[in-house]
């Protein structure tokens, strides 16, 4: 259990071009969480950061076979392992 806890991190901090599994969501912004759910960010789903902008404020995320550009700060709400 402890091992799993140490493996977890939020999506804004993960390496690019590496696949991660969504394990949960955090944060209070319901609007953003709702949009994430609608776009296919569900528990157990695999996700990958494909690229980052020059100042790393925007990330390109691959999920469910398509690409999304998302502000890095919002990816703090997505917990992955």
């Amino acid at each position: 259990m402890l091992e799993i806890f140490y493996c977890m991190e939020t999506l804004d901090k993960v390496k690019t071009q590496k696949r991660y599994q969504i394990v949960g969501f955090c944060g209070n912004n319901q609007r953003i969480l709702q949009r994430f759910f609608e776009l296919g960010f569900t528990k157990g789903q695999m996700v990958k950061i494909t690229a980052k902008s020059i100042l790393k404020k925007v990330c390109l995320v691959e999920i469910r076979g398509y690409l999304l550009s998302v502000r890095t700060e919002l990816l703090k709400s997505v917990v992955v392992k």
């Binding site: 969501f25 319901q30 609007r31 953003i32 969480l33 709702q34 949009r35 994430f36 759910f37 609608e38 776009l39 296919g40 569900t42 528990k43 789903q45 494909t50 690229a51 980052k52 902008s53 020059i54 100042l55 790393k56 404020k57 925007v58 390109l60 691959e62 469910r64 076979g65 398509y66 690409l67 999304l68 550009s69 998302v70 502000r71 700060e73 919002l74």
Partner: protein, 656 residues
């Protein structure tokens, strides 16, 4: 009248289908959020008149942005209407999420799978999909005319109702997250049953490894832009402009000869020769640039590459209140402001568009090069190349500062959408590109052309007639422009060039920056095409155009860089951002040019008088003082306003 609504995810091709089904001409594009308001048109549906409504893209029936609210409100108000739910074939999983929401909501829908040209990611069994969903499913190409008959047939079919297997009574009690999970599980099974996946990720391409690479993205983009720049403003563009110029001379010369024979070489002849045909030749000189710039822009945008550029530059340009798409317009401004301003129209954020258009003339356009060569060359000699480079850099710095100021004051940028779909690379269609070109060229020729000719005639009248309306030729009596030059000359004394001839030349530079050099040549009685001779003439003591020192020359060049651009640019600005912003932009340009020239003149003058290091020390000290003052003010302000709100992470962290 029967109403049909077009609903779907952003960038799924709704407006393309709307244009095709109702023979409309609405703007389409390969990026997210082209449509921001509902659009309606009557169309013939199997012999009956129907109203077709195109709505902005939505992901579900819960609206989060303004555009989504427009679409959802309309959908709920017209819940009994037939709904065409357009789904992108290659991004089916996410598109079907909205389909499920619509079926759950009890809407009368027809699912249209948009079969976009190119290699498919999914092969779909529409019959099976229709059986499972319990609604009609058709697989068509939204831009294909023949496919519309199949679609129209489905629109007449009666409403089908089927309860989806997961949509039980317990479903309504679930949280949003659980509902989304259930829907996506259903879609995953549906896709396994009804489709065959043939290739990779939607929107992903091997070229992205280069286009989105943190080291290669910028060089690749600059290389592409340099090619566009070279083709538009130098090789192909100049060649076509020359040929059009020759064609115009061929057509107008007999007419001019006819006028000369009828009235002689008087003001009527000059009116036609200089003002009317001169204005026409200016428009025709710009025409190839407009065509080429819009051709390249539509290719870059439709292919999906501009979205990659916007992604890479969004956060850098966002710092100064511009959009990622501003890069194209601003860099093209180095070629010609007039045509570059026109390309700003494709930007989504209105304030960012206005800012980009206003800042574009600060990029030193190619028409200003002759001024730098003639005036700078005369006084600065071999050092002139560094002067020219500094002027280009200064233009960019001034534009950055102004953008930041405008963003903080009157033109605050709209907060960009937090999550945007990334469009795939697509081949542009020749039909679409030609449509975009025709639309822009038509607008340029009719709207901008008429303003350009009118302004040309006004400036010609000012430079050719005195106040008693006597025709002025070869400087025998004083023209209105010359009079204004003499009146305005004292204003420019603090800038180091309070000479009436220079001010008159600056006024005539309003027609076009090339005319400024011609005016200097005219005052000195030299042929404008002989650059070296012209430079030497400015140095001679008999020259009407005289500069007191190197400082005044540099100040003049800075003023030329920053002051109001030519008539054509102002006309274009009016067309793109409206009269109010154009007047403000012109006032801002005159003010900024004056202030910066004044500063530059005094600093360079101090260099000449007190020496380099002494002046540098003084300027550095003043700069440091101003910087410290700004820093302290910012610190005090941030402390006084932060009350530990939940929106500002940094300040709250600092408090903790």
């Amino acid at each position: 009248m029967k109403q049909v609504l077009l609903v779907g995810n952003p960038n799924s091709g709704k407006t393309t289908l709307f244009n095709n089904l109702a023979s409309a001409d609405e703007h389409t594009g390969n990026w997210h959020g082209v449509t921001v308001e509902n659009k309606q048109k009557i169309f013939d549906c199997n012999g009956k008149e129907c109203k077709l409504v195109d709505t902005p893209g939505i992901y579900s029936l819960d609206a989060l942005s303004y555009e989504e609210k427009v679409a959802c409100d309309f959908l709920f108000k017209n819940s009994s209407s037939k709904v065409i739910n357009l789904c992108d074939r290659d991004n089916l999983q996410r598109n079907l999420y909205l389909t499920l929401c619509l079926i759950e909501g009890g809407f009368d829908i027809v699912v249209v799978i948009n079969n976009i040209k190119g290699h498919p990611i999914f092969k779909i069994d529409c019959k099976k999909l229709s059986d499972v969903l319990g609604v009609d499913v058709v697989n068509i190409n939204a831009s294909n005319k023949e496919d519309m008959t199949t679609l129209k047939r489905c629109l007449d079919a009666p409403k089908k109702t089927k309860k989806l297997s997961y949509h039980t009574s317990e479903f309504e009690g679930l949280t949003i997250e659980e509902k989304a999970k259930k829907r996506y599980e259903f879609i995953e099974n549906l896709i396994l049953q009804c489709t065959v996946r043939t290739s990779k990720v939607y929107g992903e391409s091997k070229f992205d490894k280069v286009a989105l690479n943190k080291w290669l993205a910028l060089p690749v983009f600059l290389l592409i832009l340099a090619t566009v720049f070279y083709l538009t403003f130098f090789s192909l563009g100049t060649f076509l402009s020359d040929k059009l110029g020759l064609l115009l001379s061929f057509l107008t010369n007999p007419l001019l000869r006819l006028i000369e024979n009828a009235v002689g070489k008087n003001w009527i002849f000059d009116l036609f020769n200089v003002a009317i045909f001169g204005g026409l030749s200016t428009i025709l000189a710009f025409l190839p640039q407009v065509v080429l710039l819009f051709f390249f822009l539509s290719v870059l945008e439709d292919s999906g590459y501009m979205s990659r550029v916007a992604f890479i530059f969004e956060d850098i340009l966002g710092q100064i209140g511009l959009s990622g798409k501003s890069v194209y317009t601003l860099l093209m401004g180095f070629g010609c402001s007039t045509t570059a301003i026109m390309t700003a129209r494709n930007m989504d954020d209105k304030n960012a568009k206005t800012k980009t258009a206003i800042l574009c003339p600060y990029m030193s356009c190619s028409a200003k090069i002759p001024i730098y060569l003639v005036v700078g060359g005369a006084f600065l000699g071999s050092k002139n190349i560094w002067m020219i480079v500094s002027l280009y850099v200064l233009g960019v710095i001034v534009a950055i500062c102004l953008s930041k100021i405008l963003d903080k004051t009157v033109l605050k940028s709209k907060e960009q959408s937090f999550i945007l779909e990334f469009p795939p690379y697509r081949m542009m269609s020749i039909k679409r590109v030609s449509k975009v070109l025709w639309k822009n060229v038509k607008e340029f020729l009719i709207k901008v052309g008429s303003i350009m000719i009118t302004m040309n005639i006004i400036v010609w009248i000012l430079s050719s007639f005195s106040f008693s309306f006597a025709y002025v030729k070869n400087g025998n009596s004083q023209s209105m422009l010359e009079f204004f030059g003499k009146v305005l000359a004292p204003i420019f004394v603090p800038l180091g060039f309070g000479n009436w001839a220079i001010v008159s030349a600056l006024l005539s530079g309003f027609v076009a920056k090339e005319v400024l050099v011609s005016a200097i040549a005219m005052f000195n009685g030299i042929d404008a095409s002989a650059t070296k001779l012209l430079s030497q003439s400015i140095l001679s003591p008999q020259s009407v155009i005289s500069f007191s020192s190197t400082a005044s020359v540099i100040s003049f060049l800075v003023y030329c860089l920053l002051y109001t651009p030519c008539v054509s640019s102002v006309s274009m600005l009016k067309q793109e951002v409206g009269t109010k912003w154009t007047i403000l932009a012109v006032i801002l340009q005159l003010f900024v040019a004056y202030v910066v020239s004044f500063f530059v003149y005094n600093v360079v003058f101090a260099f000449e008088i007190f020496g380099f290091w002494e002046t540098l020390f003084c300027v550095g000290a003043v700069g440091l003082f101003v910087f410290s003052l700004c820093f302290v003010t910012k610190k005090i302000r941030s402390k006084s306003t932060c009350s530990g709100c939940k929106f500002c992470d940094k300040k709250c962290l600092r408090k903790k």
